[in-house]
């Protein structure tokens, strides 16, 4: 046989998720984010959980920019949960950049001033005569320079300046550039980075059988499973049955021998129940409006034309490629948690509460996440690990299989919307009524969205049905479907008024600007800006051989307009291209930003086309990727992305590109075929029968 001798003594400790590196000798800390070693290694801690939104690269870029550091000397380290040092270590609502922009800039800018001050003392010159560039402090007059490492120890003794001036956009050297993902080198080598990659000596692997929604355990016979080789224990807890063992495969096999019977514990619901309930809720009387302008009832009575449309969305799985998992080691002196968490502070609190231990005794190490999409904002799976570790008095890693993830997990709430528009005899839009309903959807509306401010008689409200089916935020919560429904409806209004949808939208944005009714909470100029940009870049209306659909949406502080382009090939509509114009303020990392928008659009299209979880008596029909279809390479259109050149503080980009994508597609589909799409997944709509949008010539 080729190769060397036998490697026999493998230890799990050799395969740990990357631990925090030891501090370099003499490393000097400047603030929570930044330390510099005498040998000139600039270490920047990135405090927020990384799910693929690229925050681990973008955050340190901002510190390095204001520091004037040489990016080549920057070492980025994922911080653990540390509420003393950091604020909002969270991945939620595309809010990280808005929250931390000034904090990160300040961390870099104050350290830069301290380094300059140290150099001024060393050279006995005024700091006003000094400049910085690429990791050096310069005294240009005398030609002297020192790198940051050489000044770090002295600089740390300088008083931290209270006032700093941030760079102007024109002076940026890193921000706005395509800086590559700091984890690329490890990812392409297959290094352990994820929660599922955590292995420890003595660790038990756990898989858990969970009850169908709305049921509890009636009886559990675990004898056969427990007798299987490699099984350490089988534990019944909280209507769940956990099988624990030394190897994943042995646990998998033993689990199949569990005999668990369930009985109802609350409502046991099916998708047919939800469909019926949602339709009923659309007609519910005496609902408190979320926003009301003018007199909607009166205007709808006198309108020349009323358009009413309804749109429905199914439950969706988050389908993170890395299924839920967590490592916990509950010891007498403290609790060690390692794994994927979008809200690590919540996770720690929930675990501390569950175990009845002090918060300070719980540490949490954040791993890179194989996707999150909102699912990992919940602590259910980390609490399972903590509870089992506490019961078994051993380190435990809980692993959900794909089937667990899809069947017993958390879903994007199912939703249904009814939109109504009143037009006068000239086609003017004079009344608007919208209701959102859903299963655990909370307020599924955004009452201050366009056409708020532009249409004088306006009413938005929402109702939800409380269900035992567990739901959680799913990339761009509510908006992921509202964006489609709303932007499809607006296209119908423009069509009914015999107007071009872009021209029609701009005219109502004008109206909201000049004669606003009620509060206008979106920036009309920025909205117009992206619409005009997408019209220009897509060549809107110029190519008569293609069918274009338009949408424009504001969410998470960012403005995005999209145009989808369909081409007819032998009578089949083929989605060729998506064009997006984006205003998210300053673009921090151009490479990451392009991919967030492209990926968001692909995700939005894929789920609108295929995504669906249906239930029969609390049990999901879809169990894995054979029945829960995700979009694949052959089905994607080209995507062009254009950013508005802006100096406004950066806003969210992980979510905003998704909501408008399906509407642009549906509106183009209407132009191409004369048929509207109202319900997702589109693949089940009558209008899509025999259509293959991804078919190439």
């Amino acid at each position: 046989m080729a190769g060397g001798g036998f490697l026999l003594s493998f230890r799990w400790t050799d395969a740990l998720a990357a631990p925090l590196p030891e501090s370099a000798a003499g490393e000097v800390s400047f603030n929570s984010y930044l330390s510099i070693s005498p040998d000139n290694v600039i270490t920047i801690l990135s405090p927020n959980p990384e799910v693929g939104q690229n925050i681990k690269t973008s955050f340190p870029m901002i510190v390095a920019e204001e520091l004037d550091a040489d990016w080549k000397n920057v070492k980025v380290v994922q911080a653990n949960l540390d509420t003393q040092k950091f604020n909002r270590q969270a991945t939620a609502g595309s809010g990280a950049m808005q929250h931390s922009w000034d904090r990160l800039r300040k961390a870099g800018a104050t350290a830069r001033l301290m380094l300059m001050e140290a150099a001024a003392k060393r050279w006995n010159v005024s700091s006003a005569t000094l400049t910085t560039e690429n990791g050096f402090v310069w005294h240009k007059e005398s030609g002297r320079k020192l790198n940051y490492g050489a000044l770090a120890t002295e600089a740390a003794t300088v008083a931290v300046p209270t006032e700093v001036k941030f760079k102007e956009k024109k002076d940026y050297k890193l921000i706005g550039k395509p800086i590559h993902n700091v984890d690329n080198a490890e990812m392409i080598m297959g290094k352990p980075l994820y929660g599922l990659d955590v292995y420890r000596d003595g660790m038990l692997l756990a898989m858990i059988e969970r009850p169908p929604f709305g049921t509890k355990i009636k009886s559990a016979d675990v004898t056969a499973a427990k007798a299987m080789p490699g099984i350490v224990d089988v534990v019944v807890f909280k209507d769940k049955v956990a099988v624990l063992g030394k190897s994943t495969w042995q646990v998998t096999k033993a689990r199949k021998l569990l005999k668990v019977e369930y009985e109802p514990d609350g409502a046991v619901e099916s998708t047919t129940d939800h469909d019926r309930l949602m339709k009923q809720l659309l007609d519910k009387q005496d609902v408190k409006p979320s926003r009301k302008d003018g007199d909607v009832d009166a205007i709808f009575k006198t309108a020349a034309k009323v358009i009413t449309r309804e749109y429905q969305a199914p439950f969706l799985s988050h389908a993170c490629m890395e299924p839920m998992n967590f490592f916990a080691h509950v010891r007498s002196d403290g609790v060690e948690l390692i794994g994927p968490a979008q809200l690590p502070e919540d996770t720690r609190k929930n675990v501390a509460k569950l175990l009845g231990v002090e918060l300070e005794k719980v540490t949490l190490e954040m791993t890179r996440m194989g996707g999150g999409f909102g699912r990992r904002q919940r602590s259910d799976y980390s609490m399972e690990a903590a509870e089992l570790s506490s019961l078994l008095k051993a380190p435990v890693k809980v692993m959900w299989t794909r089937e667990d993830d899809m069947r017993g997990g958390q879903y994007r709430p199912a939703m249904r919307y009814r939109f109504q528009a009143a037009l006068d005899a000239e086609g003017n839009w004079i009344g608007y009524r919208m209701r959102g309903v859903g299963v655990n959807s909370g307020n599924s509306t955004r009452p201050d969205h366009f056409p708020a401010g532009a249409v004088p008689n306006f009413l938005v409200d929402s109702v939800d049905h409380k269900s035992p089916v567990t739901t959680s935020p799913w990339r761009a919560p509510s908006e992921n479907f509202l964006g489609f429904a709303e932007q499809s409806f607006f296209d119908e209004i423009a069509t009914a008024a015999n107007r071009d949808p872009i021209e029609y939208r701009l005219s109502y944005l004008d109206k909201a600007q000049k004669t606003p009714v009620g509060a206008v909470k979106y920036d009309i100029d920025r909205m117009k800006g992206v619409i005009e940009l997408v019209a220009e870049k897509s060549g809107w209306g110029k190519n008569k051989k293609v069918f274009q659909g338009f949408s424009a949406y504001f969410s998470h502080g960012s403005y995005i307009a999209q145009v989808a382009e369909i081409e007819m090939q032998n009578g089949n509509p083929v989605l060729r291209k998506m064009v997006a114009a984006v205003d998210c303020g300053v673009v921090v990392n151009l490479s990451g930003a392009y991919q967030q928008v492209k990926g968001g659009i692909i995700d939005g299209l894929g789920h609108a086309l295929y995504g669906e979880v249906t239930l029969k008596e609390g049990v999901p029909d879809q169990k894995n990727f054979d029945t829960y279809r995700l979009i694949r390479m052959k089905e994607i259109p080209d995507v062009e992305v254009y950013f508005v050149d802006s100096a406004i503080n950066p806003t969210g980009l992980g979510e905003p590109a998704l909501p408008p994508a399906a509407a642009a597609l549906a509106n183009a589909f209407f132009k191409a075929t004369g048929k509207r799409l109202y319900n997702q997944p589109f693949s089940k709509e009558e209008a899509m029968k025999g259509v293959n949008l991804g078919q190439s010539s």
Partner: protein, 153 residues
Amino acid sequence: MANYTLQINNKNYRVDVEEDTPLLWVLRDNLGLVGTKYGCGIAQCGACTVHLNGIAVRSCVLPVSAIGTKKITTIEGLSANGEHPVQKAWSELDVPQCGYCQAGQMMTAAAFLSKNPKPSFEQIEEAMNGNICRCGTYHRIREAVALAATKRK
């Protein structure tokens, strides 16, 4: 339980596991080669792709008893220092988002390019269509496979 000698990344490993254990779990649980990922367990997503005598296979459904003396390559063994054309292209085009599926994507691409060194756009799509990326990095993956083809000697 049975003993198996596996040749992985040009090294020999001896493991004592049940004969129906999928290679994926031998790699991850027994050998600490965790670069190969679990995504679905039913050969639908491609996250667990490894090479068996140079052919891309789904390790989540490949029982260890079926391997025999065939040579296994995992992402850890694709190159010593990340210098395989596919790895270089992935890095150069900044492909990964969350990164979880990318080892499988790269292993599929590497096996494909060794059989088809100068692929067309359509052939790349056909070859890569079995690998799911939930983040939607497909454009960059497609471009990286094409770039890797130009880097092969």
